[in-house]
């Protein structure tokens, strides 16, 4: 692996980690809200969250690019706050990745939250637990599997993104060049040796992660069958 590829590897890891952490912070309350609300706005929020599943990443990337430009309010605000434009930076990648991986984090978690036994939460309330306490002391541990699946999928999906990164990251080595793009570069320049290494790493990583996720589900099915 060349030093540039190694840098791309670390950037990919950093991007996926930061994105996953941000998703845990904002995606968890969103999943909780979606799982429990009967509010009318849900019929709009739910498809918005799911959009990245069906949209070509380039479409999202295109709109982000426009949004990040200093001529637009978001880009302008960023420029005035940080003194540098937002587009083609690592921060831009994080914002794009968070939106792009949002459904992969929110949906498994929402399913887990929806499967919670309401009477257990009611019982906790009668034992003196306030709503936030009930969430952390009951909903979180009982949805442990949902959290693990959501975190794995969000992380893996961020590692695997390409189109949106290309649009808003600009392929700057050491700043925004991630593995999937480094791979594309190697293929473009007919460097198949390097391409093989990266492709192999990504393939094995994804396979191991998915095997882990599916093994969680299998354990769970066997347990319910016994019960």
């Amino acid at each position: 692996m060349s030093p540039d590829d190694l840098t791309a590897f670390w950037i990919t890891l950093k991007l996926a980690t930061i994105t996953t952490v941000v998703l845990i912070i904002i995606g968890t309350p969103l999943a909780w809200w979606l799982a429990r609300t009967r509010h009318i706005t849900r019929i709009l929020i739910e498809p918005i969250v799911a959009l990245p599943i069906v949209l070509p990443p380039t479409v999202l990337g295109f709109y982000f690019l426009i949004m990040f430009s200093p001529q637009n309010p978001v880009g302008e605000l960023w420029l005035s706050l940080t003194g540098a434009p937002l587009a083609f930076t690592f921060s831009a990648l994080v914002i794009g990745s968070v939106v792009y991986s949002l459904p992969f984090y929110v949906q498994p978690l929402q399913v887990a939250f929806e499967g919670l036994d309401q009477s257990l939460l009611d019982t906790a309330a009668t034992l003196g637990a306030n709503p936030i306490d009930r969430f952390f002391s009951l909903a979180v541990p009982l949805s442990k599997k949902g959290f693990i699946v959501a975190i794995c999928l969000a992380f893996a999906h961020t590692v695997g993104e390409f189109g949106i990164v290309l649009m808003i990251g600009g392929n700057i080595p050491g700043e925004t060049q991630v593995l999937s793009i480094a791979l594309f570069d190697h293929v473009e320049s007919l460097e198949f040796q390097s391409a093989h290494i990266i492709a192999g790493i990504l393939l094995i990583f994804s396979f191991i992660l998915l095997t882990f996720v599916y093994s969680l589900n299998r354990k769970w099915t066997i347990k319910t069958r016994e019960a």
Partner: protein, 359 residues
Amino acid sequence: MDYIKASLDVERSDFHLNLELSIFKGEITGLYGPSGSGKSSLLRLIAGVKSQSPQDRVDISTNEEIWSSADHFIQTHLRSIAYVFQEAQLFPHLNVRGNLEYAIQRKRNKTDVDLNQVKQWLNIDGLLNKSTDDLSGGEKQRVCIARALLSGAQAMLMDEPLGALDHRARYRILPYIDQIHKRLDFPFLYVSHAIDELTYLTDKIHVMDKGRITESGSTLIMGPKLGIDSLDASAIITCDVDHYNEKYQLTCLNFESQKIYIAGNKSMGESLKLNIPARDVSIAKSLPQDSSILNILKGSVVAIHESKEGSSELVQVQVGNQTILSRITRLSIDKLNIEIGLAVYVQIKSVSLISEYGN
């Protein structure tokens, strides 16, 4: 807390709850009714775990504070209420001790109840380190009751807590619940459609039907009345242990100065509660001389409860200060000319022991 008062008018597509109910300390208030009569909804509204809509009228207050009114709502976790559901709601990610500690950590009031006492009252000492999966139905429910008591509650709501258990397990837990009531003097509402449970535990019974309270009265009167159409109508009596007859392996009990024999040596306790099914009790006008039945008691008829359907009626016979129920046919009643005030002998074919507290 001295009392809880509820006045409700809640209408949904499938039911209409419209009633007033007061639960006072010092007694167990029973709530009886068929499933779908709104009993659980009532309890859930009192506890504040049922969602309310603006057009509902839900006035709930205690002598200390208002829990719910037109412009006021106190959330469940701030109401000092213990709630035991029909299905034992133990937290599956915690073991028994963890479940109890969950309540202790969130205790709302300084009460005298501590873990050591509750462990002893409900006989759960040996269960503390077990996983909730390893408990029997009855053990689960005892842990649920213990947990509810440890939360610093000032009132108790029980929604058919023994509904999921078999006959034997039910009779094993009833004395524990009775014991708790005796030790903790707070408002206590017990919901059940099992008349024997209500007869055993409660002092007062409200009958609910289609969201309304249709009848109320003391358990002494309401118990037999409700039992008429129930096949398992039974009397629950309290006896003192007299002695154990080793030769015949029978325990002789003293019941209102008369004798009752039960099988086996039950002489370890001082007083026992027995369940006598009405269908196992017959009536004679004179003392049967050559009967194989051991338990024959003298009493007088205080009430004849007519059943709406079927050929049998329920005769309530007073023996001392307690009553025994007998289900006999209308034909026998006419033949023997049974009427209120008549002195009769009741022959008891079977009794079952409701296990003593601690056993």
